[in-house]
């Protein structure tokens, strides 16, 4: 290339652009191969027999007829797996139940057969004899004195409690009461703060069951090779944690467990834990010496995948006449269901909202999580924050009304600013909260509409309009829950300057592949199409803690940038050597090494890569990076700066309430999110739109009806997801607070958009009708009853241990 021909490459940035998700064409064309589509040669199909009783002793299980059915390879019960270990955060859950069933989802036996049809026929041949036990149908029943125990301690032959070694898991040792977990947090002088209050409000809020409704139902394929190494095709969101846990349950070296994730048809937190079906599938594969595939039916997905945790929540809040918040006191009762999964630990997030969303001098928080015979609760996008925000943001409106202050001004007066350290020790290095409040309010014309709607409450006509506001605080820079909150990246450039980005971060539909590619391309001056992402095989990818806590863009993004910057440094150093110039004067743009000041091309990157490779000092560009955020673990009092950054959002919801039917139509959502910085604008908008709809479902339509331990509506006919025509108009805007630690300034946003909707909808219904509703969901009948004054207000006497 002579000097005259050298092109000049103009600096260009991918940041903030609208970039199509890398997996979109395949998914839109129906070509993505989910676990449902996978066929492993020689595989068997498995089905689980679940309990026919809510709470019962198992007297006998007869599998002989099932075993005799042609095409059946293996039938297992608890008796066949004496080595099974309890799963779950409290180690209270044996995958196969041998002596007692505690909920209708409980697994009693499993079959592996030549086809799903044969496996199903075999299930019908299994005979189980039960002896019914009294049902604990709700959390209030669970804490009554003399309540039946869900996990009673085993007795010896003489009926005395068995002596067991210390630290024996709950699954074997039992529990003397129905309390699964307790959380107690406090800061400030509550009594003094209450004495200073001019106004105090106290209400009980009731939050209901919903479930994730992933379009891709749960599924797994397990197989052992001839040496006893386990390979799993799994939809998990946390492959590296599971690799270790499965090894523990099987008593094998974790090095012998490999997890491959086919494209995942939705996670939303549901795939953060290990569930019985996965362990059972492994047992079947071990016994059958064949690969075994197990995929849920939709009904099974409703009955046996986790739920969001139902909560009874009593909140006391106080403020002074001038609008200064004084204190909050919270007691909650969580329905754990029969076993403990992550749902029990949502108070970690709930207490952050109470202690730190607004400045509050005193906060006293108590949760009791109790066992019942209901479905058990897992983690779900927002992780307790929807419930906490529902209560707190209604109280913000109620306090404002009591002191005669505008609800927006009241919030602005108490909102956090950058630089604040909260009572819980969270440090807000970047904080766009006030800008979120003012932007969302201005864009929605909140103040004017709020006043107009109140004035129009008694106007003619059955349909009333309302507008409501709510805000949220959530972790936006990971969450230090595990020993590490890090993520590793391996990056290589080939001879054509194509990049393979090997990351620990899983793609669950949230768009991580795209945003990580974008961050790498931004460093290396390449188009998105130059990147191939490998992210689904524990034998290849470096460690990552998993997809949760809205952490992937932040943590995996910083990790990818780290690896890309190392590659860039290596490339520029090599280019400087070859072209005899200072590497500091060079940059990467448009697939070329260029002079940074003029943009004049020095050498095409692909050509440079080949010249490095095919030389007498052959060299490849391959780098690795591990990013660990500068956050800390909480102390025993739940204090500590647990995330490297915090995300903020305000959402304004507008509704029309038909007072003849109780139908609440959500007409518009105006959302302003402090995302640090917009990376992929298209991906971000999609993430927020989806989250808003999930929040809308939580607020208005979704309701897993559980009565006396029985799920009444395990189908999409009666469990109502929001359908396309019901989705409101949306106005989504962003505050770019440029977080100093975030990748290119960005913060996490995955969970944020679903958090405020129910709270804002509650405030909007009040604005429209003057009726405040303390329980979810706002289904037509519930709203109609409230409007007619025939609803009893949720009530709960906060429970304190003796």
């Amino acid at each position: 290339m002579n000097a005259a021909e050298k092109p000049v490459i103009v600096a260009d940035s991918l940041i903030g652009q609208r970039i199509q998700k890398k997996d979109a064409p395949e998914k839109a064309a129906g070509k993505t191969r989910y676990i449902q589509d996978m066929v492993v040669p020689g595989m068997l199909h498995a089905k689980i027999l679940r309990s026919a009783r809510v709470h019962a002793r198992i007297l006998s299980i007869d599998t002989s007829a099932a075993k005799a059915l042609p095409g059946v390879h293996v039938v297992i019960t608890a008796a066949d797996v004496p080595d099974q270990q309890p799963i779950g955060v409290a180690r209270d859950h044996l995958p196969l139940k041998g002596e007692r069933v505690r909920s209708l989802r409980d697994e009693i036996a499993a079959v592996a057969a030549d086809s799903e049809e044969i496996a199903e026929a075999a299930l019908r041949l299994i005979r189980v004899e039960y002896e019914d036990l009294p049902i604990v149908a709700g959390p209030e029943d669970a804490i009554k004195p003399g309540a039946p125990l869900i996990h009673p301690a085993p007795l010896d032959a003489e009926g005395r409690p068995k002596t067991l070694p210390p630290k024996t898991p709950v699954a074997f040792a039992g529990k003397a009461d129905n309390v699964a977990m307790r959380f107690d947090y406090t800061h400030g002088d509550l009594a003094a703060a209450e004495a200073e209050s001019d106004v105090v409000v106290e209400d009980t809020f009731q939050l209901h069951y919903v479930t994730h409704c992933c379009m891709g139902v749960s599924g797994v394929i397990a197989e052992f090779d001839a040496s006893g190494n386990l390979l799993m095709y799994s939809n998990t969101q946390v492959p590296f944690l599971h690799k270790r846990e499965f090894a523990e349950y099987l008593d094998i070296d974790p090095a012998r467990v490999r997890i491959i994730q086919p494209p995942i048809g939705g996670g939303f937190g549901s795939k953060l834990d290990i569930y019985p079906f996965e362990v059972i599938c492994i047992f079947l594969a071990r016994a059958a010496k064949r690969p075994v595939k197990m995929v849920f039916t939709r009904e099974e997905e409703f009955l046996a995948s986790p739920t969001r945790q139902p909560v009874l929540l009593t909140l006391r809040s106080g403020c002074r006449k001038d609008g200064t918040l004084t204190f909050r006191q919270v007691h909650t009762l969580h329905d754990n269901g029969a076993y403990t999964s992550w749902g029990a630990t949502t108070p970690f997030v709930m207490m952050q909202t109470f202690s730190s969303l607004y400045r509050v001098p005193a906060c006293d928080y108590h949760t009791t999580v109790v066992y019942t015979n209901n479905p058990y609760a897992g983690s779900f996008r927002g992780y307790g924050n929807l419930q906490a925000t529902f209560a707190i943001e209604q109280h913000m409106d109620m306090l404002a009304e009591k002191i005669g202050m505008d609800p927006l001004d009241f919030r602005l007066k108490n909102a956090q600013d950058a630089g604040e350290v909260t009572g819980q020790g969270m440090t807000f290095k970047s904080c766009g909260f006030k800008e979120c409040l003012t932007t969302a309010a201005e864009r929605s014309d909140y103040r004017r509409k709020h006043a107009d709607n109140i004035a129009n409450r008694n106007a003619r006509g059955p349909v009333k309009r309302g507008i409501g506001i709510a805000s949220m605080l959530h972790v936006g820079g990971g969450a230090k829950i595990y020993p590490s909150d890090g993520c590793g990246t391996i990056l290589k450039l080939d001879d054509f300057a194509n990049v393979t980005l090997i990351t620990g971060a899983s793609e669950i539909g949230q768009g991580s592949e795209t945003v990580l590619s974008q961050l790498v391309c931004e460093e290396l001056g390449l188009p998105i199409s130059a990147v191939t992402v490998v992210n689904n095989d524990t034998a290849i990818t470096p460690w990552d803690v998993g997809v949760h806590a809205s952490r992937t863009t932040f943590i995996a993004g910083n990790s990818a940038i780290g690896a890309a910057r190392m590659a860039k440094a290596k490339i520029l150093a090599a280019a400087a050597r070859k072209h005899d110039c200072d590497e500091a004067s060079l940059d990467l743009r448009g697939g070329f090494v260029v002079k940074a000041d003029s943009g004049e091309a020095v050498v095409e990157l692909a050509r440079l890569m080949r010249s490095l490779h095919f030389s007498d000092k052959a060299e490849l560009v391959m780098t690795t990076f591990y990013y660990e955020p500068p956050s800390v673990h909480q102390d025993k009092g739940f204090k500590g700066d647990v995330s490297a950054a915090y995300a903020w959002a305000t959402q304004v919801v507008e509704v029309e309430v038909d007072t003849d039917t109780g139908i609440v139509k959500m007409t518009k959502v105006t959302g302003t999110h402090d995302v640090g910085r917009v990376l992929n604008r298209l991906g971000l908008e999609g993430q927020i739109e989806g989250g808003v709809v999930m929040g809308q479902g939580y607020a208005l339509t979704e309701n897993l009806i559980v009565e006396n331990g029985v799920t009444r509506n395990p189908n999409f006919r009666d469990y109502k997801l929001v359908t396309a025509p019901e989705i409101p108009e949306m106005d989504i805007s962003f505050v770019e607070s440029m977080d100093g630690e975030g990748p290119r300034g960005a913060k996490g946003v995955g969970e944020a958009p679903s958090i405020c909707i129910a709270a804002a909808a509650a405030n909007a219904i009040y604005n429209a009708t003057g009726v405040r509703i303390f329980g979810l969901p706002f289904t037509p009948e519930a709203v109609y009853r409230a409007l007619r004054g025939v609803t009893s207000k949720p009530h709960w006497q906060a429970w304190k241990p003796e």
């Binding site: 003849d660 139908i663 208005l700 339509t701 009444r712 019901e726 009948e781 109609y784």
Partner: protein, 288 residues
């Protein structure tokens, strides 16, 4: 679960009725109710499964004298899009527009919707207030005979009708509405479609000098079958449609229905909806 021993796909009505006459036949048309219900164990297959989709002459909408004749195999989409339906009985098209999803409408047939005999069947309430009749064919003695029956008398319980085992529903006939005829349909739901009715209401009659005559009112999902509301009709018949008539009719409606509590709504709420929405519909008729 019974296994299907024989599958038949007759091409002519004669052939189909012959198979039906032999007994123990499950009839398959669109399959949109039959398949989920057999899978869920609520309906058992009989030994013969007869697919009637290929039977000639059972599909389409025609003018037949002073009636509109809709063939039993006409799909919900075809009813929705049919110009004769739009011209003469637009209320039926409106009901079809609230019916399940496009996919279901493309497969499901009007005859199937009638014979599934759900108290919440979407086309049933408008058909009843339009005075529709069902046409039933059979071949008892080697030759085809046909009888007609008002749809309002056809249903005997959830999933049960007066159709005899040897009979095939071939068409539904709707008398052409008289001048001044008005008809309204309301289906309660938070979704525009894809919803099972919590309640549905059909109101029809001839509006003359501010009063309704030949009044028909029917309700869905408030009884084991879709029902005519005779007392509500009486409260309206021939009376000037003013506020007091409307209120009296709405009260009569609430009093004469006897719904149940289920997973979708309580009986109390259903009665409230019947009252409030009957009133709203009559207000709209009065204002039109």
């Amino acid at each position: 679960m019974t296994t299907i021993e024989r599958y038949a796909a007759p091409k002519s009505l004669d052939e189909a009725l012959g198979i039906l006459q032999q007994g123990e036949v499950t009839i398959l048309a669109g399959g949109t109710d039959l398949m989920p219900q057999t899978r869920a164990g609520r309906i058992a297959f009989k030994p013969t499964l007869m697919n009637i989709r290929d039977v000639a002459g059972l599909s389409g909408v025609v003018l037949d004298g002073d009636a509109l004749r809709i063939g039993a195999l006409t799909t919900i989409t075809e009813v929705l899009d049919d110009p004769l339906v739009k011209e003469f009985v637009p209320v039926l098209a409106e009901a079809c527009d609230h019916f399940a999803s496009d996919q279901i409408r493309n497969a499901g047939t009007i005859g199937g919707n009638i014979n599934n005999a759900s108290p919440a069947g979407d086309t049933l309430v408008p058909l009843i207030v339009l005075d529709a009749e069902v046409e039933l064919a059979s071949k008892p003695n080697g030759s085809v005979t046909t009888r007609c029956m008002p749809l309002a008398e056809y249903f005997t319980g959830p999933g049960r009708t007066r159709r005899a085992a040897g009979e095939l529903l071939t068409a539904v006939r709707i008398p052409l509405p008289k001048p001044g005829h008005v008809a309204r349909f309301y289906k309660f739901g938070t979704r525009p479609a894809l919803d099972i009715s919590t309640i549905s209401i059909g109101i029809a009659g001839v509006m003359r000098d501010g009063a309704l005559s030949d009044t028909r009112v029917a309700f869905g999902a408030v009884a084991p079958t879709p029902v005519r509301a005779k007392q509500t009709e009486a409260a309206l018949e021939g009376r000037r449609l003013d506020q007091s008539t409307i209120e009296a009719a709405a009260n009569a409606a609430r009093d004469e229905v006897n719904p149940i509590d289920d997973v979708r709504a309580t009986a109390w709420y259903r009665k409230e909806l019947i009252h409030n929405m009957t009133k709203r519909m009559l207000d709209h008729v009065a204002q039109a």
